[in-house]
C-alpha cells in the first residue's frame, strides 16, 4: 500500500472491514464457538465498491464486495484462473502476482486496495505458443509437476530477478549493503515464499538460473 492509500479514509475503512471479515473466515472452522452471534442485517450487508484494475494491460472495471481479495477478484470475477489459491493465508505463494512491479500474495491483499493498480498475472506473461522466457525455461527444465504452484513460481521468479537487479538485499547475503550475488543460494532464499509440494525446486532454480544468465 502506498502513502496515498493510507491517506484515503474510504479505503482505510474498507481495509478495516475487510480485515475483520477475513479473520472471521479463517476462524470459521472453529464455528460453534460462543463468539458466533445473531446476525445483524446492517453489519451483514455486503459493502460494495467500484474499482478499476489494470490487469495485463487492460482496464477492468469491477464492483466488488469489499471483502473480495485481489486473488478472488482475478479468479472468480475476471476468470483469470491462472493465479492459484493454495492456502488463502499468505503461506504458500501460489497466488503470486506482480502488482505495481512488485510480487505480492494476491490472497493477502483486498481488491479494493488496488484500485488503479497495474497487475500482471501469469496470463499476462505469455501464452501457449508465445511463452515468456521464464515459462519456456520452466518447460525445458521440467520445473513443475502438477503445475499448481507453477504460475506463482513463474511470476515470483520474474519479479525476483528485478529485485536482484535493483540490489534489494536478502537474508542470504553476507553483506546487505553490497550488491547481491546471483548465486543459487541467493535465488533459493528469495524464492522460499513459493512452496512446491511436488518438489520441483532443484529444477526451478535451474530454470531461473538459465533465464538470469541470459539477461544479466
Amino acid at each position: 500500500m502506498n502513502e496515498s492509500d493510507a491517506m484515503n479514509p474510504a479505503r482505510r475503512e474498507a481495509l478495516a472491514l475487510g480485515r475483520d471479515m477475513l479473520v472471521g473466515g479463517a476462524a470459521a472452522c472453529w464455528a460453534g464457538s460462543p463468539s458466533a452471534r445473531a446476525a445483524s442485517p446492517r453489519r451483514d450487508a455486503p459493502v460494495m465498491r467500484k474499482l478499476t484494475l489494470r490487469v495485463n494491460g487492460a482496464a477492468q472495471a469491477l464492483e466488488l464486495d469489499t471483502r473480495t481479495t485481489l486473488l478472488d477478484a482475478l479468479r472468480e470475477h475476471l476468470h483469470l484462473t491462472g493465479t492459484k489459491k493454495g492456502c488463502d493465508h499468505g503461506q504458500c505463494g501460489a497466488c503470486t502476482v506482480i502488482a505495481g512491479g512488485r510480487r505480492i500474495n494476491a490472497c493477502l491483499s483486498l481488491a479494493v486496495m488496488h484500485d488503479g493498480d497495474e497487475v500482471t498475472t501469469i496470463e499476462g506473461l505469455g501464452k501457449p505458443g508465445h511463452l515468456h522466457p521464464m515459462q519456456a525455461a520452466f518447460v525445458r527444465h521440467d520445473a513443475y509437476q502438477c503445475g499448481y504452484c507453477t504460475p506463482g513460481q513463474i511470476c515470483s521468479s520474474v519479479a525476483m530477478l528485478e529485485e536482484l537487479r535493483h540490489g534489494i538485499p536478502s537474508h542470504a547475503a553476507a553483506d546487505v549493503a553490497a550488491a547481491p550475488a546471483w548465486t543459487p543460494d541467493e535465488l533459493r532464499e528469495r524464492m522460499s515464499g513459493n512452496i512446491c509440494r511436488c518438489g520441483a525446486y532443484s529444477n526451478i532454480i535451474e530454470a531461473i538460473t538459465e533465464v538470469a544468465g541470459a539477461q544479466p
Partner: protein, 736 residues
Amino acid sequence: MKFDTPATKNPIDRLAVVGHPVDRIDGPLKTTGTARYAYEHHDAVARPAYGYVLGAGIAKGSIHSMDLAAAKAAPGVLAIVTADNAGPLGKGDKNTATLLGGPTIEHYHQAIALVVAETFEQARWAARRIRVDYGPVDGTFDLARAKESASKPASGKPDTAVGDFGNAFAAAPVQLDATYTTPDQSHAMMEPHASTALWDGDTLVIWTSNQMVAWGVADVAKTLGIPKEKVHLMSPFIGGGFGGKLFVRADAVLAALGARAAKRPVKVALPRPLMFNNTTHRPATIQRIRIGATREGRITAIAHESWSGDLPGGKPETAVDQTRLLYAGANRMTAMRLAVLDLAEANAMRAPGEAPGMMALEIAIDEMAEKLGIDPVQFRIANDTQVDPEHPERPFSKRRLVDCLAIGAEKFGWKARNPHPAGTRDGRWLVGFGVAAAFRNNLVTRSGARVRLGKDGVVTVETDMTDIGTGSYTIIAQTAAEMMGVPLHRVVVRLGDSDYPVSSGSGGQWGGNSSTAGVYAACTKLREAVATKLGLPPDADFADGRVRAGSRDVAVADAARNGELVAEDHMEYGDLDKRYQQSTFGAHFVEVRVDAATGETRVKRMLAVCAAGRILNPKTARSQVIGAMTMGVGAALSEHLVVDRYAGFFVNHDLAGYEVPVHADIPHLDVVFLDETDPMSSPMKAKGVAELGICGVAAAIANAIHHATGVRVRDYPVTLDKLIDRLPLLAREEES
C-alpha cells in the same frame, strides 16, 4: 489383452519416442495458467454458487442441535446442507468416516455443514453464523498410550514368520533391538481438495480433483444413492495428490448436495486450515526392529513390528512390508498391530507402508553396520538376496540393489567418508554422509484405453487415467506415438473423464507402467484395424508415419481416409507378479551439515540411483524422483502433525505450522537411472518410480546426521531440539 508371459521384442523396443526425455506436452498449459483445475471450469459452468464447508469443533461425540437461523438469514445464502436435511447418504467403499458428519461426530473438522451462497465471501460469513451445540465424549488420540490396546488388523497379513526368529536372535553374537517412531504426516498438496458440481436432470456432472476416476464415480454414486451411470466425473488436471486424492472427499459430496439444494452449479474447495483434520493423513507409527548377525556381518535373524492407529474400521500402516523382502536372513518375523484412534482418517500417502517402514528399517541397518564395524554400503551389499526370503523358490524379476549401492557410492565419493562419526568438521559445520537403500514394490493393475486414428492422421488417446504431476499425458502420448509410428505432435491425449475407458488411475506408483500398458493394448488393436483396412498383414511395421509390409509402403493416415478408425482394449495381468517378486530398487546418498552450536541441519547434496525397469521418459521420471526426495527431506527434518492429545486434533493444520521443504531447504538433486528393462512387468517393461524415490530418503538423512554428530535420533523428525543437548562439545575444537 492379457499379459501372462514375459514380454519379448515388441514395437516399444524401437524407442524412437519412448525412453526420450521429451518436454511435457501439457507444459505450455501449466506454465501459462491455462490448465484448468477442478475449481476453475468457468468455461463450462457460467454462474456457479459458492459452497463453504463448516468442520466439527469437537473430535468425538455428537451434535445436540444446530441453529441455522442466522446463517439462513445472512445475505446471499441460497441453501445450507447438513446431515439433517441432506436425505439418506451412504458411505463410500473407500471412506472410513462419513463425509458429512452429524449427529455423530467421528473426528475433528469432519464436515458438518455446507453453506451455499451467491459469493464466496457471503458463504464464508454465513458459515460463521451457524451455532452448534455439541455433546463431546472422550476419545483416544495418543498412539503411545493406545499401543497396548492395539489388536491384530482384520485385513492383510498382520503376522509373518519364517524359521525360528526367537532362538536365532538369542543366539546371534551381534544384536540390535531398537524402537523408532514416525509422526503423523500430511500430503499437503498445493491444490486444495475442490469440486464443481451441477445436476443435468438426474445426472451429476462433477469436476473434482481426484486421482482415481472410476473409484470416484463408484463412491460418489454410493454416497448419494444414485446409479453409477448417473455420475459424469472429470479430473483433467490435479494440483498434486500424493494419495490424499485417491478417495472421494467432502468437497465432492457436498458440492453435489449443495447444487441439488440450491438448484445451481456449486463449487467447493476445502479451506486450507480444514484439510489437515478433515481429510486423510499418513498415520504415526511405532516400530520395533531386532536384527541378529554373525560377527562377519551376515544377518541371521530379523524382526520388524509396527503399531499404528486409525478410526474404527480403518487399516494399519503396513510399515513392515519391505522387511519381508529387502534383506536375506533365514529367521524372520513381522507383525502389525492396529489401535483405534479418534483422529482423522489414516490412509495412503506416497509409498504407504514402505515410506515410514524404510524410515525405521534403514536406520536400524545403519546402527547394525556400526555395531559390526562394517561400512553401511558393504553391510547392505553383503545381505542382498535375489529371491523372496520367505519363499526362496520365488525369484525377483529384476533386482539390482547391489548395483545401485555400488554405482551410487562411486558417484557420490563415498570413499571419502570418515569411518568415525562426529569426525569431520568444516568451520561451524559438522559434516556427515548417510546412505540408505530404496525399495518399493511394483504393482500392476488392469487399465483400459480407446485410441482413434482420425482422417487427418492424428492419433487420439482417451482413458480415464489421471496426471497428478506424474507426466501421464506425456508418457501416454509417447506410447501411442511409438505404437502407431507417428511423431509425438500427431498424438492428442485426453485424460481424467469417466466417459473414457477405466484405467489404473494414479496411485501406488502403478500408474505409469499400467496406464501405458493399457494404451499399448488399445494401440495393438488399432494397428490390426489399420493393417486390415490397408490390406496389409497384421505384422506390418509402423514407423515414420508409414505402414510397411513387404514392398508395400502406405501412409498410416490413409487407413482413416474414409472415416475414423477406433479401437479400445485394456491390459490385464496373469500370474507373473505371483511367480516373480516385482519390486523397484535404489540407493540414496546424502551429505548433511549440522551447525555445531545450534544443531540446525542443512542438506548439502543428495544422490538417488534407481533401478526401476524401463524409464519411459527420463525427464518426467527424474522429476518424480526429485520430488519424492524433497518430500523425504521434509519427513526427515520437519514434517510432523502435532496431536493435541486432549482436544484430539492436529494442531498445526496449515502450511505455516506444518513445515514442508521450501526452496532454501533443497540443494541441486542428482538422480541416476540404471539402464534396465523388466519383461515380467508389462510389454512396456517399465515399473514405477514415483514412490521409490521417497523410500529410504529420510533414513539416509538421519544416518548422515548421526555420522555428522554422533547422535542417534530414532524419533522423526530429526529436529534440532533432539540433537542440541548431545552435540559434540564446541570446546573440543579449541582443545585440539
